[in-house]
């Protein structure tokens, strides 16, 4: 008998499954659950984008593409960044089309991290950064962002985390799970510290189209930062294209070249049909984004105000599609709160500590659901809080 534990790669075996999984497993066994748990838009992919995918299939455009992605798509991505953020990226050498933002994160970390390199990761944040850094032999250095700072990364926090071994800073804003954003002034302070160092920023901007109020600012727009920034984004959140699995990396050519090497050996090329659909999305999808954003904004305002009416403290998230209320006043841990809410009221949320220890005492509520469902879910949470009032 083979003892698989002995033969498996130990850094893989050591990775704990995401804390979210446990709740999803319970939810899957139940019927009629209203899910405020998933990080996936509820909108359908806009019809004209689906049609472009169908057209590609009909015309049998089902071959591999260039390793970096279709040149037409890379040109569209490049001109989108020129148009939206006034950033220049060469479609030939500084754009790489990936299988979702997730592959992009993996490529960026693998291409840059040597054994023992430190990677600064602000938390709460998306669950994949720590495991990918560890698998690459890197050492995650966690910064616990704070509710009183609206979960933004401050310059002082960053300064305190930098050592001689720091190779990379992950900048996950707009943030999953908190909905926090970094405004230009915040980014300028971060840039001030990074100037003159060799620290590379992995800026995960997958939610950049979903900001409410001011439009998104990328750290790559701040002076001297573009040369040290690996900008990652994709189509999943902005265009509601999760299942198409398409993202991209924008970064300096020498970095892009190495990432492309990994990509070509591991993936070959990103899904071709999806790439054709993505061209249509970038060409004609601005109105779709605007109307989805407007809808999210109404839901966001509703959910925040309703939580406040229930007496929970919640800061106003300015990005993504999550609200991150503090549930400490219930006397329950995040795990306990979410598990009981799910079992007793059939409302699925995710405990904040699934996104880092400092998320304890919070829950992530995704408002990717209809106003009608949000209304029902919120009234159930209200009941739940009433039934479990302390003392």
């Amino acid at each position: 008998m083979i003892n698989y534990e002995e033969i498996l790669n130990s850094s893989v075996v050591d990775i704990k499954p995401s804390g979210i999984r446990k709740f999803f497993d319970i939810a899957e066994q139940m019927e009629n659950v209203i899910s405020l748990g998933v990080g996936e838009p509820d909108f359908k992919t806009p019809w004209h984008i689906r049609q472009a995918g169908i057209d590609a299939l009909e015309k049998s455009k089902t071959r591999y593409t260039s390793n970096r992605g279709l040149i037409e798509l890379r040109r569209e991505i490049s001109s989108y960044y020129k148009r939206k953020l006034n950033l220049d990226y060469s479609p030939e050498s500084e754009v790489l089309v990936t299988v979702g933002g997730s592959e992009a994160i993996d490529l960026a970390i693998r291409a840059l991290i040597n054994e023992g390199d430190e990677v600064i990761i602000p938390e709460p944040s998306f669950v994949c950064y720590v495991p990918i850094v560890k698998m690459a032999g890197g050492v995650p250095v966690i910064i616990n962002t704070k509710a009183e700072n609206e979960f933004r990364l401050t310059a002082e926090e960053l300064k305190g985390a930098i050592t001689e071994k720091t190779k990379m800073l992950i900048l996950p804003f707009p943030n999953n799970p908190t909905g926090a954003i970094m405004e230009r002034e915040d980014l300028e302070k971060i840039a001030e510290i990074l100037k003159g160092t060799n620290i590379i920023i992995l800026s995960d901007e997958i939610y950049s189209e979903l900001t409410y109020g001011n439009s998104h600012t990328s750290i790559a727009q701040i002076g001297e930062m573009q040369e040290r920034t690996v900008l990652i984004s994709g189509f999943s959140k902005a265009y509601s294209m999760t299942g198409w699995r398409l993202g991209y990396i924008l970064c300096p050519a020498p970095l892009c070249k190495q990432m492309t090497k990994i990509h070509q050996f591991c993936i070959m090329s990103s899904p071709t049909v999806s790439q054709y659909a993505a061209i249509e999305a970038l060409k004609n999808g601005d109105d779709d984004i605007a109307s989805m954003r407007a809808e999210y904004d109404v839901r966001r305002t509703y959910v925040v105000n309703e939580f406040r009416k229930m007496g929970l403290s919640v800061f106003e998230p300015k990005g993504a599609f999550y609200v991150f209320p503090c549930i400490k006043s219930s006397g329950m841990t995040s795990d306990e709160f979410c598990e009981r809410l799910l079992k007793e009221k059939k409302v699925a949320t995710v405990p904040g500590n699934a996104f880092g220890e400092c998320g304890e005492g919070f829950i992530r509520v995704s408002y990717c659901n209809s106003l009608g469902n949000l209304k029902i879910a919120l009234s159930k949470i209200k009941e739940f809080l009433k039934e479990n009032k302390n003392g």
Partner: protein, 163 residues
Amino acid sequence: MEAKFEKLLKILEEDARYSSSDIASMLGESEEKVAELIKEAEKEKIICGYKAIVDWDKVNDIHVTALIELKVIPQKNLGFEEIAENIMQMDEVESVYLMSGGYDLCVTVKGRSFKEVALFVAKRLAVMDNIESTATHFVLRRYKEVGVKLIESDKDDRGTYSF
């Protein structure tokens, strides 16, 4: 305020039965302000009414709807206005639209049987002055009504995979 007003209308169009407290939360406004905006919209006839969407087929078999295409000879100075106004006075008529394309007025009519509707068209509509021709199409099944699906509920088809 203009943007909020439009947001309010969209919310009510989605579901007119949201409480003013809910709408206030959605807009980030006070309940009083919401009530005031709704009152204003009603007064200006921007909001023209509130009705339930009833699937009568689930209740009984005596509900027949027909869509009638009318070709009309327009009148000097009045165009289609006078005839449209005359038609909309009839209780059987549910909607009247002026159309572009192959015909002029689209009229939907409700009745208790095919015969009743057919006779209404023959005796009341077709004989009106300036009506050139009519074509009656009966509705056999309603799948979707003012944006609401009548035959199935929207199921959340998202799996629990995303973090």
